[in-house]
């Protein structure tokens, strides 16, 4: 019971920040996909860089567990292409669609209905997918530091440098 209240409060904070940065709306999402407005990339990358440092610090202190997703090339690549196609059509991603409704963008409701339908469709298709896309290129729970055979901090520092260079470039280009 307590956990779902924490979930609600966490979502409340996240939704508040998403709306404050104006990243939930269609124009910003399509702006990023059309490479004319990088607001959501700035938001996402900032969140990733900060949380990456904090989570790994806590991990090193033995305070938290990581949640590493399985790398299955077939499912990851085909799924990502489908997601990208659908995202471009819908103009909202699963989390931001709720935020868009929150700021009055009611066309997101159609997308939410579609996404619930798509989730149900997936549940039905899962047995078929298990023997196909999920069997292609299964590498298990791998991470970049593992593959590169180095510690996680060099990878984190590299990501920070790449992120900051990207931000400088966006600002220079006025994106």
């Amino acid at each position: 019971m307590k956990l779902i209240i924490i979930g609600f409060i966490t979502g409340l904070l996240f939704g508040f920040l998403l709306q404050k940065a104006r990243v939930v709306r269609y124009d910003k999402q399509l702006g990023a996909l059309r490479l004319i407005d990088m607001t959501i990339i700035k938001f996402m990358f900032s969140a990733v860089l900060v949380s990456m440092v904090g989570v790994y610090l806590l991990y090193d202190l033995g305070q938290v567990d990581l949640s590493i997703k399985t790398t299955i090339l077939g499912a990851n690549i085909i799924g990502a292409i489908l997601f990208g196609l659908g995202w471009g059509m819908l103009g909202y991603c699963p989390g931001t669609s709720l935020g868009a409704v929150g700021e009055g963008r009611l066309d997101a409701l159609w997308g939410i209905l579609g996404m619930i339908f798509g989730a149900g469709l997936f549940a039905h298709a899962y047995p078929l997918l298990k023997n196909t896309v999920y069997a292609w290129g299964d590498h298990g729970k791998i991470t970049l530091p593992q593959i590169l055979n180095i510690g996680h901090w060099p990878v984190i520092i590299a990501f920070i440098i790449i992120g900051l260079l990207l931000f400088v470039w966006f600002e220079r280009k006025g994106l």
Binding site: L3, I5, G7, F8, T10, G11, L12, F14, G15, L17, L18, Q19, K20, A21, Y26, D27, L30, G31, K42, F43, S46, A47, V50, S51, G54, L58, T70, I77, I78, G79, A80, L82, F83, L85, G86, M89, L90, P94, G95, L98, A100, V101, G102, E103, G104, D107, W110, G111, I112, G114, M115, I116, F117, G118, A119, G120, F122, H124, Y126, F167
Partner: protein
Amino acid sequence: MPRNSAWSPYAAGALTGVVVILSVWIAGQYFGASTSFVRAAGMIEGLFAPERLEQLEYYVRVTPQVDWQWMFVVGILVGSFIAAVTSGSFRVQLVPDMWQEKFGFTPVRRALMAFFGGVIAMFGARMADG
């Protein structure tokens, strides 16, 4: 629409990063949304055909119930509503501005595109486990 009331995406993003850290630390929860759509689909399907919830492996794995992430997703809606209303940027819209510029005021076409886009996006998101 008061555009100047928007926060810097860097600042809001960095603050979101802090919320992520606290969430992982306090609740052991990483941000996600798409699993909740599977739970919602299971809840709706369970209303019509309860037996399918036991027959379909995916609904057994992702049980149709309200959990941390489900309430997180609901919270996003409420949080965005509060931010929008308090900054005067709440606006009821059936067709986004950018859509209207290209295709005019076509709410039915927009609804169809959003619905089918949603179907494809969620199918892909679940497949890639995003």
